[in-house]
Symmetry: D3
Subunit: 252 residues, 6 copies
């Protein structure tokens, strides 16, 4: 096929992706993901307190925050605190990360605790939100392991594995896992967050200057699911699952 | 069929919807939408200046803001300004409204102007974002008419008609246009924004405590398109299109 | 008489004023006032908690907030939250509304509760603060009725009826109830807030570029009292007082 | 007469008042006022730029800011910046000071300049706003003198002398110039800002838990005018007017 | 010696310094310092509550805040609240004042209380932070006396006397106590905070465009200690120590 | 010697320190420093614009920002933007970094540009400010090289090499380069910032609950200079200086 992506990939190819666990010595779970040139550091912090609206319910919460270092981008960006307000895009992304990772956890099983997932982008080359969710899941699972090791919970309250990827249409070609340059030229851009058995936790498709048909939506979903399956496999390998944990992942 | 929704509707039914134009005497375009018990007032304000990143390009912009009156909800909410920051949910919604309505306009045809779409929720009973987009389109079209009537532009730079609706799964039943009580119980919740010819401008599906399959996604899309077709018709009637404008809507 | 106001009124005339109750399905009391082209929606929300400085005193509070929709004015205004601070004028007005409506209520009779009066200006053509106070009184009274109907209080703790109007000197002529265009040309501008028996709760007179004499103050007060008497009557009619309530209004 | 005020004054008495000019070596005008135990330092700063809305009109502006030192009050107050927002009361007061002092100046004669009046309360014992206006006038006049001495303007653009005082009803007795303890017990509280010839620039009367009649308003005005006449005299003496300036004060 | 400083002083000379106690009638301690043309008013306010991190420890805290009046400087500065954030320099200075004055107090002896030291600069001519610390000590000591007089503590929990001064190199000459014009030309600028027995509580030396050697550091320290000894003496005289207190100062 | 530090070091030992350049693909200069368990990523971003106060002077500026990731510390910290204000400690540190690095650059030689140094702490174990300055210098030098390579400047405007280290007294022992646990127990804590020839750019010594004598200051300075000499060597090695650059470092 003559078509060639900017970085030489085929349309269905993911970039080179590497998850590294344990990159922060204080956090109950942490993971650095290098996803092509996108680099995000995720930490999972356990707080022994649920948010106010859950007090007394015996139920916990997962909350996410997302930010970019000022020079994670081609041009240096001003920090939120210098501008005095949370950036709208960042606010939207951290809400998405939080919703996606809450789907992974059985909240009554977590008990009245909050797990904070902090996603800080060291370098951005497209796909920072899907990289954050995918690495956030790894950090989150390690925090759940820590809770059991500390005997604060009796079993790991995992509901499902969560992975995420982007897909879109660039110059008329449907492709998986857009880098920044592709993303900024895309006519259609979608983010898919899916469970281990291929169900959606969240699907966001946006026509960026363009629109998309139902047939194109189907194509995006197929591409996405292939990509997420591969991500799921990398997460499991990186997590070095015990036999017992493997069963947990299979059954959920 | 025995199944009955809270308000007696069938799963495929929209609520009673009424658009009223010209509800604000100063705005270049305005519309009040009463969508069941949800009430949103949308104004379109023309500013003779494009945002900084477009200066000198001859190209315009559509920007949206969304807010809820404090007692638009069951419990009074504190105003954003009292809390000192823009509410994350509101920020996410106004970004969605802006993206959706920008798809309706040919920006070079608009020229270096900004059209501000303000969506203020007087009363909320679910579906405020899709009501805002649908009524925002009406206000926006009237502002484009105003620009031509004032001879600031030579033709109406409409790219496509935009309508929006929600759909979701409640108590295991897939249904269209959720009211608040349904929405707060929903396992899956989606917002669809579509053009006159049935393409997507934006699709957001979220598992709220649950997940959804590809088959369910298909069902949501079918329900949604039926609903949006009806919304599109109401918008056109309310706009009292001239013959020339009808052609414009058909061709775009 | 040759003199003619912008909108054809005589100097002593009020604009057409209409109060509509029950415009919000969630609020314990609500009223829309259409006062010429000025339109304000007021809601009264009951909170079962007094402000911190009253805790433990058995005494309640009435607190007001005032805001304008961005396109309530000729030129679109930026929202407070976008500018990051409460507008000084708005802050001054909501303090005035709060003080004025607190005069209507016997606070020990209210008990340790707060009634929030939210005044949101849909369209502004002068006199928004007096319209807010006058319609706020209607919403407030309905909230007091609700408290008694809910048997949270045994009798309606009304101290007095409150109405408000503006008056001023425009082009050398003293006149009642200034619309925006008159207000912006006024040499003297006053706001009067009065009780059912013609006493002042608040009187604010301001020389706008001009000054005013004691004789002119007297004239303003006479004009204002005539106007407020008419407002008081409209409030009572709109409230559809029972015989018992009529006695309450008479006696206070 | 048996009636005795807290500090031994008669109802018609002002407290001991002393204005001291030139208390700040950098400001173009400055005055410290010691008004009983209330102490306010006012500076007038000339900026060679008018606010945005006046650019190109040849016309200037007077703008005021008001703040209290944290321990100017019985209990230490948190600073505005620590709370992150301008205090509503302070915002209302500085708007009043600004409006009042703008009445003193012929703005075209000032030219495209801003005079900033900063009123910082060192110690508060009631009447800080009227003390600020009265001392602000002194600082303002010295700044106008400076402008002429610097030959930036050819004559002093004074329209009128401005003085201010409070009056109110305490324990059923009408009295002039309330100290804090009287003020916090007052049933009626008024602030009067008047010109050299006894016209009002601003009049604000508030029923604090009470109301007031037209007859009581008349009494307040009479008391106030007596007090302001005395203030005017002190201002003139403190300003050490030249013969030419005395004529200016007489004629305006 | 031919060398002459701007204001005629010798390099080793302090400016004229005067401390005045009791300048605020409400504060538990207060002092005005006039240090050449620099004037700072310091109040010490006792709060019967320790900060959150000390609750339940039986230990107290000293906290400082520092601000400048808008026209304390040659050019009027905008207030922090108008800019919406605490000025970085001010934040740094108030942290220094707090650290320095905490060194003076035995915190367990103070008990679970906070003493707030507010330093408000009326006029700035260099050395405002050292003037604030030196006068803050005086206000603080009076607040400690007040606590004992009120029998809230049984003895004055003084650990040491604290004084502060600046020194630096200007035009190649090492000198004590820089005024603003010297400070803005200085190659090296240092602030020394020292105890009664000549130990350092804090030492900050900064090359302002220049650097400094160890030998120059020694010279700065010698100059500084001479200056602080004189400050200490003035503080003690101003405090009118009793015999018992003199012993306390000697022994600590 | 029997004395042993927490991590087995001798009092005069630095921790293991490693600088890695080029860790950010977009920045004009970047360095990661791993300093024991402290990890800071520094980027240098060139902006072709000087701050407002330098416009038109032909002179540039170096500005620093410092922040900690939320889980860089033992306990997760809230982000500044969530609290709505810049942390006082962070504000003080970024001012110190900026002053220190400005000493390295000949500003007229830089031209009207700003170099932004962003220091983001990934993991904190004491000494983050000195690590930031030391790694910031490396990033800064690479940005200067980039400017010359791009022919925006004709020679590298280096004034001097800058290195920094902490020293202090812990449990009565004077030691170099405190880790967090030592720092939190320290009686005296100092930060030294020094040039290539052993002059001070900045020296900050603080008695933390204690005080320090002149003799102890001397000891701190000796310890510090030894440490900084070693840091300087590591910076030069990491920078892989050309022969020409070595001369530049020697001569400055």
């Amino acid at each position: 096929m003559q078509f060639q992506r900017i970085d030489g990939r085929e349309p269905r190819d993911l970039r080179n992706i590497r998850f590294t666990r344990g990159v922060n010595r204080y956090a109950e779970g942490s993971a650095l993901v290098e996803w092509g040139e996108t680099k995000v550091i995720c930490t999972a912090s356990v707080e022994d307190k649920a948010p106010a609206f859950l007090r007394g319910t015996g139920t916990g919460w997962v909350s996410a925050e997302y930010a970019m270092l000022p020079r994670s981008t081609h041009q240096r960006m001003q920090r939120d605190i210098s501008k005095g307000k949370l950036n709208g895009r960042g606010s939207e992304i951290q809400r998405l990360i939080g919703r996606s990772l809450r789907a992974a956890v059985d909240m009554p099983g977590l008990g009245e605790r909050t797990i904070w997932i902090d996603c800080d982008v060291l370098q951005a080359d497209g796909g920072t939100r899907t990289a954050s969710i995918s690495a956030g899941f790894v950090a989150l699972f390690d925090a759940l392991r820590w809770l059991r090791a500390e005997q604060k919970i009796s079993s790991i309250p995992l509901k499902t594995q969560i992975g995420a990827v982007s897909a879109g249409k660039v110059d008329g070609v449907m492709m998986l896992d857009l880098c920044y340059e592709e993303d900024s030229r895309a006519e259609v851009d979608a983010n898919l967050i899916m469970t281990g058995d291929g169900s959606f936790v969240e699907l966001q498709g946006t026509g960026e200057g363009g629109v998309f048909t139902r047939a194109e939506l189907d194509e995006i979903v197929s591409l996405g699911w292939d990509g997420i399956s591969a991500i799921h496999k990398m997460q499991r390998e990186c997590l070095e699952l015990t036999e017992e944990e493997k069963k947990l992942f299979l059954s959920c």
